[in-house]
């Protein structure tokens, strides 16, 4: 079979001198580089989707909208009272794990990217926010909760994040499909390049192949020599591609971390993801070997 390289230790075919070797090495390096960067993107998006999904299922936000009143202090006190009642109601829920009313400092922190440091939020009609972390696997009847909240805190509005997060999730899922299409394209283009260079090489070494056949060599004997050589090129090209890709991924991650807002922060690569990226040379070698092996088998059957 393809794995049986014992009989191919002696390379009768002078494949190491083929001029297409350099081209294949560069081609595979570029493909593995693109593959690694795209794969890192797919894995990061994936981790982001998982985190977002967890946040949808695991939390909700209650907002106490400011009351319109000419007496600002009274309106503010009324809003705080409604906040306290809402916190009490939410804390009594069996599904609630942690209920936190955001302090004015925290609210200021949230608004800083938009308003800067110099604005006193007490001068603004600011809503109060209550963050509710739910127990794992807890399911909340949002309609019922909204109705209860309306009775004790008429200014409260319930946000389970689903609406805007669903749009983001759809967008991220679209990006993921696009990235997977790029990965398939990279595999296709690389396999195509290996297919054509192998066919060219078979034509170049036709005389040697003819002698091998006359001496009784089966097609597999010749195919193994090609598979061994191309697997080596695939491994070398793969290692070069990954070596270039890893710093580029770190650079992209660094640039992404500069974006404020916390959305991109969720896109972190796990250890398993890094292992998948680092093991790409093994896959590039296997794909190169398989492609060369079956190209030789198929071409020889047609050639002679």
């Amino acid at each position: 079979m393809i794995w049986k390289f014992k009989s191919s230790r002696h390379q009768e075919l002078p494949l190491s001198k083929d001029s297409s070797n350099l081209f294949l090495k560069i081609m595979i390096s570029i493909s593995v580089f693109l593959f690694a960067v795209t794969l890192a993107g797919v894995l990061a998006i994936n981790s982001m989707l998982v985190n977002w999904n967890a946040s949808i299922l695991g939390s909700l936000t209650v907002q106490i909208v400011p009351i319109s009143n000419s007496d600002r202090q009274k309106a503010h006190d009324e809003m705080l009272e409604q906040e306290q009642r809402a916190v009490a109601l939410l804390s009594a829920m069996p599904e609630a794990k942690k209920v936190t009313a955001l302090s004015e400092d925290q609210l200021q922190q949230l608004l800083r990217p938009w308003l800067g440091d110099d604005v006193d939020i007490n001068e603004l009609p600011m809503p109060r926010l209550i963050d509710v972390k739910l127990k794992s696997g807890a399911e909340v009847n949002f309609k019922q909760l909204a109705e209860k909240l309306a009775t004790i805190a008429p200014q409260a509005s319930l946000d389970n994040h689903k609406l805007w997060l669903n749009k983001l999730i759809n967008f991220a899922a679209g990006l993921k499909v696009l990235a997977l299409a790029v990965l398939l394209l990279v595999i296709g283009v690389t396999s195509g390049a290996i297919f054509y260079t192998t066919q060219t090489s078979l034509g170049l070494h036709k005389d040697v192949i003819e002698i091998l056949h006359i001496m009784g060599a089966k097609d597999t004997y010749i195919a193994q020599q090609y598979a061994g050589r191309t697997a080596w090129l695939g491994a070398i090209g793969g290692i070069i591609g990954v070596m270039v890709a890893v710093p580029v991924i770190f650079l992209i991650a660094h640039l992404a971390s500069q974006i404020e807002g916390g959305i991109i922060d969720e896109a972190r690569l796990s250890t398993a993801s890094w292992l998948a990226i680092i093991s790409l040379p093994v896959f590039s070698s296997l794909i190169a070997m398989q492609t060369a092996y079956y190209t030789v088998k198929r071409t020889l059957e047609r050639m002679m």
Binding site: E12, I211, G216
Partner: protein, 238 residues
Amino acid sequence: MFETQETGPIIELEKVGIRYGRGPEVLSNIDLSLQRGSFHFLTGKSGAGKTSLLSMMYLWQKPSRGRLSIFGNNVNFANRNSLSLFRRRIGVVFQDFRLLEHVSAFDNVALPLRVSGMSEKEIRKRVNELLKWVEIDRSTSAITSTLSGGEKQRVAIARAVINRPDILLADEPTGNVDNGIATKLMKLFVELNKLGTTVVIATHNENLINEFKYPCICLKNHNLTIVPAGEKIHDMEI
């Protein structure tokens, strides 16, 4: 899968014709039956079809028409793997040697054994022994392209006989060596024949045909006649 028959003719051609592309037939209506252990010379002037007949015998060309049987199997119905297995039992010496110029003499001679999957230890033993016998023992590791014509011819012969083939086909095997070596090589073929190998030697060398009295397959005008051993070849341009 094909089974080898150990009795009957080892090579049999029946109403065989061969043509290249749409050209005229190089060989027409050839009937030939070679018995196991036989020894034949093959002669005829240039272009008579000697190389085409030999290439059919070593299973590189399939006949355009007619039936070619080898080891009792009709090759028209043999698949690629079966043809490879049959070829391992046939040794061929080419007029232009057809050695792998980029590898050593040793590796050229070892080739038929390696494709058969023999162990390297056994290969080393057999190849060194044979190379010594054909007097190439001092340049076994030399790249073949650096060898002289005579040395290449001896390497080509060693490659053809290394796996003790059932059939040995040689196209002008003594063309590039002096008379002493030519006689020695012919004696090797005779010895192999005595051990049971069927031998066919294509040659223009009249002295060789006269010295070693074996039947002669003569090709003329795309047809074939067999001249019995010891009989003078009449009306035949060698």
